[in-house]
Symmetry: D2
Subunit: 473 residues, 4 copies
């Protein structure tokens, strides 16, 4: 009935989740609510919080934004000074309540809750084995697989049982577990997805991004290391490294697009990275132009960097309507035919007669870029030089990012020139891989995963797995 | 914040659930919606529907009345000509979304959904064993236990796997399973809870009560027999009796209170039973009085029977406010002190100066009866003779009915005379067990369970089990 | 989208409103909420409460049931120990928020609120005159006319200004006014619509029906007399009779259908009247039959009276589904074709093979009666003898009751025999006018309006007025 | 219960309203919905649309955002190719449904709807006179006064009646009237509030801002001239200038803060004005600093202009959480004490060790500025130089802008140095009036109202009026 107006559908890669955990702060549920709120950009489809009062776990979750799911009475139903929360993004085929997180189960080890950011690459295989052994599944989520492995472990200590379970899974995971007594956080050995540790008074906090710490004025202690497993309980914090080491492969797209500009990710401020990408792009692919215009909001940082490096003025030539929400009533055909501009409006007085450098962070399917280039021309631009602050995305991600299939990625089967022609730009340039890594503070390229650009997948994915991974979405 | 006003809390035993299943009728979800709607009195806390289009199962469920949970778009999301639905009642401690039914799982046998009316008496023990073998539980419901047993079965045929699983559980179950291909219904060998089979065109229907068949104009075929297991699939309907036979023990309280008066339960119309209970009560415990007044709505049928047998006029001396709902705003203390009568209003012109026979179906804790007797006196009654159309309830039910603990049951530790004094009646009489069974069409008492009256529990419950059963509620 | 399923549309006359007023009881808004709640049957389309704290008036109103419109926060926004509330029924064409009451205005006399039960027969004419004099109207309600007349009065005392305004209007009005300082209640000289006066502690209450007093345990003082105007303020209660006297013409349909059975209306208990109607009907039109079956809930009282007088057993042969609400999702055609019975279910074991006396309160258009007779036959009844506890309704009401046009009233253009044939009954009889009035405690017929039966309209209505009155609905 | 977290309450002047009108475009309601949507920033408290199908007016309005108030079914209830809509802002004391617009009335001239942007300075006096003549008021809005004057006019032609009414009111008004036959738009002779005329196909559009035309791809024809009255009906468009001319006094704050940056207001692009203000501010009040940081989003344009003129880098040192909405659950005290940063987060890596020029558009009460300066210091800034892109606001506005009282305006009773000290900045400078007017394209200052800066009120307001105007808010 009422759907988001589709002509400017959000054509980006998307991180699947944001995680937040608390140990030892009164009213932990409300703190978690704030933390999830700060990370709402990491997942807008479901939200959940589980708390412990030292005796039992209590869970509230639902579909929608943090603010839609929680009200005073639901937060009141979550007593305790320990909590874990989760926000989740998912694709259209998977908007099912059953997959909302955290997942809470009971087993012979007692109750435990789990929130997951990442993707287990051979989850389908593990699931098949577990089902053959009599396990039942109540969701399509790979997260449930981890809990089954845990329930079948007979290692005595909590950390050993968790470590043993995680040793059996391959792929990307930043995880937070909550039991009545303990909070456990873990990161896979490649460190695909972010996870940081903070303190608030005497308590401990874990979060996907530092902006969640900032909102509640918690102190950043450090990032969890790739392959680290941290247990917080009555005895304080203990750190383990139970997995065989792997080369670090942190997701460079956190810097390109996912993370909030004010967050510190993999030790570096995201806004700094984006400015540096724009500067590098201006050096690699300058354009004879009059102004630099960002695609709001994804191209903001890089456009400013480009403007500064090139000496061209930075101009808001496209204004975004901030009130577009999930329930916008779609105009009917006879109104759409007028060319409704619901999300973006080109500013004629800025664009008219100008040669424009238009900066965005990425091109996924290309359809949105084509519309925006057209809109900038309609606004009067004489030339449109499209600059993208990341390399062409040639392949899907299997490590916890929602990407279309390879066939849908325009760069997987078209040359840059073909893409330029299709989107209707006068020129088109992407940032080089080297440029991107340098801008992200990793000039040697040893610490980041670039699989979606380079095709170098750090964890092997068989053809069957790949299909299942996409299907599971 | 806004709660049901508590002075007339509903002090009754409550059936836990209503079940409905369809095979082979287009738009099965909408049909199931109607069937659940007709059985809303069997469970008002959650509602759920699962459908199959022959390929996959789709589930929608939520907390609230059928009408709260479902709207057009949720029904539209449930395609297929096969469906199963469930409405659920539960006590305050258990109003958790995780326990809403149907439960849908995936396992090595493929996806399956289950709705359950009843109670497995040794669920805690089975759960303990299953957890020890590595199973995880996502609810506190005994229904999940059945699904685990099913998932661990390696019998080839669906009916064998289900029968094998059910052979391991003791207690009360009327069950409906739905797989992509089949609808399976089963009743425990004692036949504690009702379940009927109907036809609609070429399709099959199963339902807890016949009123659900009536609403959709389906034809009643027959009741499922105690111990019967019925499979409906492409090859039609097949019936099995896989369990060792047991003496039939159908719940007589369905006739006393649970079922709708227009339903046929255990082969007998419920309204007929209630009229007969009232007549028998008038014979067993006549009263010198002027009028017979029912407690609305639970005492209606018996009061009319009592009036007819006694020759006294039947009068509505208490009027119920039909708009009392779940969100009524509770009056504050200074208004409550006026003696607010939200649910019932005594009719002075009916009651004034009269000797009243007040008829209700049961006394559970006694608090509500005391208030109603007081209200009838306030309305001007000169004498109040309380007549109850069932015997004193001395013990809890372990077979799927929500009852308070033995200690809370006033009749478990007080004589009839003590109860009379406490509720403030001039006289008090209960229907005898023999009288009740005769009124329910079972003069020999061979076909009904009377455990809550007689203490004769057909399926043994150990002390530990009993505690767990109550706790699980 | 989701509409009440139409095959059992509610085919009755409907009172337009319920009124409630409080003076001098703390938290008057919550008390009014309770009072409106008790009178929800008098109007289910909008609800409103205005309060005074002695300084200013505050209003909250909205579309829906009392419970839909009000929550804790809206009641909290209504401070003061004086209040007035209103529930309203209206026909489909008039479900506009602008017509919800109370209406609150400001004028040279200061702020004032008004709630109205009734109908001004020449409102259109008055409105025309007022518009010509420069008045603006923000609703289509005749109530606004009264406020304009009041605002144009220059009589000094409040009661004089109100009396002067009301002297200019013809027709039916029970009114409650609230100013910051005073509560004023008035009834037209014919006394068409009910209004009673009560006390609660030191405070005063006015209400359309006594059931509202009962719910809050207020004491009934007396009915307001026809033509009486009562002012309650700091100086206590003062009564006036400012209008020329008219013959009393109270609405007999309050006894037939509108009022709650536990209410005292025009000095007589409603349930008593209905029982007497049934008895009289049994004397006037006996039937050779086996059982007496009420159409729930409207035929309940008369059916019991009929059964008692005739000696035939009273039986619930039609069971009503109490959960039918405003948002029921209408079955689609292919399901409707099965003959869905959403509101009523015939009880086969009661009806099968029986000669049935079916009792209802009235026949308006006849369509519903036809469906119910058919349903009773489907339930197995051998004969259906329809008995109606009021005379044939031949003409519309212009005094505050929602009725269809004369053409739509089946009795206005069909003989009883024609109606019998159309509804499909074996016999049909209506209660005589004399019988009805006697049953309502008015054997001489001097105190009741019978316009809709007899065509004797106590207040003349010109053809133009009549059309406008119907149009205004 | 759940309220906007208050530490960053929005401390700005606010325009009261946005207006939109359509004549001669099918499905005018949906077009108006889009137009209001584009102007949601002009009023977020209520929204309303009235349509005409040539026969009658239909109105839907409610409290909340455009998207909250309207859904498909409400838009479907508004047929016709003519429409008028309104969004409204108001202060806390005035969040009453009765004041939501449009107001629709009936009078001797027939039905008419009115939406108003502005303020009638002597509304209280006019209201007093009208009440003395017998008028009743159903809101506290000055808009209702205009409708009363209209209803009392006896000029024959619509335009004459409207012109005559408006000739009696003093103050600020941009108005759109809708009758079944005509759309009328008018602007007061000073032209305080904006209003533009556009075309869409054969139809006409009026709107407060051009961004509403852009969204629906309508063509801008021109602004309505100050003092112009335009009638659109079957005969096309006719323009009148019925009022005595006055010096043009357009609200310069539209350029400073109210309007969307992509709108053309008073003939000039708003973003151009804001860049020019920032440049001028850099010339008037340069600062020895390292970076220029905008207060998001109000200081964006001016900060970029300042950065460009000064040669300092533009940096996002404060990141706004875009999900803050109306229902955010306020943290409890023990969490607030941690120093929660819900709306803005300082970016340490940007601010640390830097001398910062912080740019905002205005300082109203000063409390928010003080918090933001503190936050920038907490983020590590070594120096904070606050620059404001408008002059000190010394007095309230009486022409349709929501402003606090003079006493609450920090600049009305404190020197710039005192303000600097209180907000905790190292330096503070405001843009000069001349600078502002030049930046707004009016170097001679002849076309803009500067009353809130200069105290030169173009329309005299008596002390009594002023108090009433503030009270009326």
């Amino acid at each position: 009935m009422t759907t988001e107006f589709s002509i400017f559908e959000d054509d980006h890669f998307h991180d699947h989740c944001g995680l937040f955990g608390v140990w030892g702060v009164p009213d932990a549920a409300r703190l978690t609510y704030l933390g999830l709120y700060a990370m709402q950009h990491r997942g807008q489809e479901s939200a959940g919080i589980v708390t412990s009062d030292g005796q039992r776990l209590r869970l509230e979750k639902g579909m929608g934004l943090v603010n839609d799911v929680f009200d005073e009475s639901r937060l009141d139903a979550l007593p305790g000074d320990r909590a874990m929360g989760h926000v989740r993004y998912s694709t259209a085929g998977d908007t099912v309540a059953a997959n909302a997180q955290p997942i809470v189960i009971d087993c012979h080890r007692g109750p435990i809750a789990l929130g997951h950011n990442g993707n287990i690459v051979h989850a389908a295989l593990l699931r098949h084995e577990l089902e053959a052994a009599g396990s039942i599944f109540q969701s399509t989520s790979d997260t449930e697989v981890i809990l089954h492995l845990y329930a079948r472990s007979h290692r005595e200590r909590l950390e050993d049982a968790i470590a043993a379970s995680l040793s059996k899974v391959m792929g990307a995971f930043s995880l937070v577990f909550l039991t009545p007594d303990s909070l456990v956080a873990a990161r896979d050995p490649w460190g695909f997805r972010p996870l940081v540790l903070g303190r608030l008074g005497e308590g401990y906090i874990v979060a996907s991004e530092t902006c969640a710490l900032d909102l509640i004025d918690a102190t950043l202690v450090r990032e969890l290391e790739p392959g680290e497993l941290v247990v917080v309980d009555r005895d304080g914090l203990r750190s383990f490294h139970p997995f065989p080491p792997e080369p670090v492969r942190q997701c460079v797209f956190e810097h390109v697009y996912f993370a909030r500009p004010d967050s510190l990710v993999f030790g570096r401020n995201v806004l700094d990275s984006r400015l540096a990408m724009g500067r590098q792009l201006a050096r690699e692919a300058p354009a004879g132009a009059d102004i630099v215009v960002p695609v709001p909001d994804s191209g903001m940082g890089a456009a400013l960097g480009f403007a500064e490096e090139s000496g061209l003025p930075f101009r808001w030539g496209l204004i975004r309507n901030h009130y577009v929400g999930r329930t916008f009533i779609e105009p009917r055909q006879h109104i759409r035919s007028f060319g409704v501009k619901v999300k973006l409006n080109p500013v004629k007085s800025v664009l008219d007669g100008k040669r424009v450098v238009l900066v965005d962070d990425s091109i996924v399917r290309g359809t949105t870029s084509r519309k925006i280039v057209g809109m900038v021309r309609e606004g009067g631009a004489r030339e449109v030089h499209l600059r993208i602050s990341s390399p062409p995305t040639m392949g899907p991600c299997y490590y916890g990012i929602d990407t279309p299939t390879r066939e849908e990625l325009i760069a997987s089967n078209h040359s840059v020139e073909e893409i330029r022609e299709w989107v209707g730009a006068d020129s088109l340039a992407y940032l080089s891989q080297e440029g991107l890594l340098t801008a992200a503070g990793d000039p040697t390229g040893r610490r980041h995963c670039t699989a979606c650009f380079s095709g170098r997948y750090p964890v092997a994915v068989s053809a069957a797995d790949a299909q299942l991974a996409l299907f599971a979405k």
